[in-house]
Amino acid sequence: MAGSPVSRRDLLSAGVVIGSTVALGNQPAEARSYSGEIPWTPGEANAPTPIKPGPFQYLTQDEVAFLDAAVSRLIPADDLGPGAKEAGVTTFLDRQLGGAFGKGSSWYMQGPWKKGEVTQGYQSRMSPAELYRASIKAVDAYCGGKFGGKKFSQLSADQQDEILSGLEKGDVKLEGADAESFFTMFLQNTVEGFFSDPLYGGNRDMAGWKLIGFPGARYDYRPYVKKHGEKLNLPPVGITGRPGWNSNT
């Protein structure tokens, strides 16, 4: 995968940020005035930054153990193919929680804080990273209490499912964290990690896309519009390519 180093001119160009990570938001740059032409500079692209594979950067070992186990229950490996763990969802979560998403930097995080109705949405003062950290700790503590000192990752699959259902329904109450909010976010993020572009660390080998037959980051389906009812069997491609792009494979 190629990547151009960020260049000085790119940074100075018309308000565009190079190689930004997810949730770049609209960071205040500099007020500018435009008249007489549409600005354009060669080589500019507000392209995403692929994660660098490697050790976990944000999650602790305990959190990794929990997440590996939990995502394996949410989307298990089976005869259809790899599950969330094999697809690298824990790595995905690690990079997300360690970045702008984890900080909740695009959210309105001013007080006062009140619980609110379900229709008023998320009202916790916890950022996603804080919510995960507090909740995972609390779930492990809950499991310890209920299952004789065991952490979530040490339980049987059935027991794990029981805990997860309890969180989902609100039957399991956590100390210091809102179980339902946590579960909703966690399930959503797991699905994201399973189906997002592999450049973000999940959907390894496009396992999620292969499961359902989604061809990925394509942009031209005109040859297929009229192929009503036909299975297309297009190999999935990510933003950073697929094996077929390399002549040595």
Binding site: A2, R9, I38, G43, A47
Partner: protein, 418 residues
């Protein structure tokens, strides 16, 4: 109360006519002729720095030998050419010497301007005299023989130009070819003279002189390849009609291609301002220039072509279509495209890496732009897809290597770092 102010369009033509430098006996017709030739010569592009006062100089012009900064050619008497006599201006245009006898560098295309008649040069001077005089620094003053340049030795000494001129410069005004039509001759006068197309489109020898046996058969300039604009069907404009040529020069695009890179500026500042008649004359001449087939070169291997096809179908077809036909006037067709099939792949490689904007003009305002792929494709992948487009759908061109891509990448980064 006066309600509505209108931000006045720069009515420089009108205000300039009252400027002090304007000679009372110059007719409007002469000024129009001078203006046409100054437009054809695209003086404003080289003699204006981005964001700066038009014609006041200061633009860095890359040559293979370093950088030359254009001087101020507004009528300012101290730092521009306001105090030059008409003869002095003619000598600069015709012989490449300044009023003090110092030689000018051929980044200023005097080897082409030499063809312009003395009378036409006078008209150009008269038009330039109507511009608002602008003061510039000594670094770009037309009257400072030691003005700013950044050339490698020994070229940083103007005396060296004497030898160069002897080898590569033949002064002389244009002589019409009596066997050709009036249109052909007027076109030749413009192309070989003021419009100096060969300065980019004719290949150069190692010392920067024209390869006179390959006129208009394509040249490499500042890491672009200015394609052949002579008659080869594959690498040149042999498949273009005269109307296609006129449309391209006037609006920046036609059904075969769109102007981008350095040609974009030429369209905006020069050719789009010429009359239809002048453009037809140019087209008549160009259609008669003998072309040369591109080098056959080596063909890319099957694995590379397969990888290139995968990349193309996934990433390029959304604009250029899987059959390479593109959308005429919007996304250039790659089939039978001269840029794509030039032996020198510089333009192909850099357009893939950096993207390209098709020049917007009043007639065709949409600046349809190709995005940059530099962050997305490796050198191998860039070479693969370049090879694919150069050798598919009936196209044929020599193979591109990953190291050529790597070199271009370095060049483009170096440009940015300046």
């Amino acid at each position: 109360m006066k309600i509505f102010r209108y931000a006045a369009l720069a009515a420089t033509a009108l205000t300039a006519l009252t400027s002090a430098a304007y000679a009372a006996d110059t007719s409007f017709h002469e000024l129009e002729r001078g203006k046409m030739l100054v437009n054809a010569g695209d003086c404003v592009s080289c003699h204006t720095v981005k964001g700066g006062t038009p014609f006041a100089g200061g633009r860095p012009i890359e040559t293979p030998f370093g950088i030359i900064y254009s001087p101020n050619i507004t009528p300012d008497p101290e730092t521009g050419i306001g105090a030059w006599s008409d003869d002095a201006f003619y000598n600069a245009m015709h012989s490449g010497v300044d009023p003090k006898g110092e030689r000018l560098y051929p980044a200023f295309p005097y080897p082409y301007f030499t063809k312009i008649t003395r009378q036409d040069v006078k008209f150009m001077r008269e038009y330039l005299n109507t511009l608002p005089p602008a003061k510039s620094s000594q670094a770009v003053s037309a009257n400072n023989p030691n003005r700013m340049n950044d050339l490698t030795w020994p070229l940083n000494h103007r005396i060296f130009m004497r030898g160069w001129n002897m080898a590569f410069f033949e002064p002389g005004e244009f002589h019409p070819n009596k066997q050709k039509s009036g249109e052909w001759n007027r076109g030749a006068y413009l192309v070989e003279g003021a419009a100096h197309c060969g300065a980019c489109h004719t290949p150069k020898n190692k010392l920067g002189g024209d390869e006179t046996s390959h006129v208009l058969q394509g040249g490499n300039i500042q890491n672009w390849f200015a394609p052949q604009i002579a008659g080869d069907m594959r690498a040149g404009i042999g498949s273009w009609s005269a109307n296609d040529i006129v449309e391209y020069l006037k609006t920046g695009r036609n059904k075969h291609s769109g102007a981008t890179g350095m040609m974009a500026e030429v369209v905006t500042n020069s050719t789009s301002k010429l009359s239809d008649n002048d453009l037809h004359d140019i087209a008549t001449y160009l259609k008669d220039v003998p072309g040369a087939a591109a080098d056959a070169g080596s063909k890319p291997d099957q694995k590379v072509m397969a990888a290139g096809k995968a990349i193309f179908d996934d990433s390029c077809s959304a604009c250029h279509q899987t059959d390479g036909q593109g959308v005429p006037h919007m996304f250039p067709p790659l089939v039978h495209n001269a840029n794509v099939q030039s032996s020198d792949p510089s333009s192909v490689i850099r357009v893939i890496l950096d993207g390209a904007q098709t020049v917007p003009t009043d007639a065709r305002p949409t600046p349809s732009s190709m995005p940059a792929f530099n962050w997305k494709l490796s050198d191998d992948q860039t070479a693969a897809v370049a090879n694919y487009v150069r050798n598919s759908w009936g196209n044929s061109a020599p193979a591109v290597s990953a190291s050529q891509v790597a070199d271009m990448r370095k060049q483009l980064q170096a440009n940015i770092a300046q």
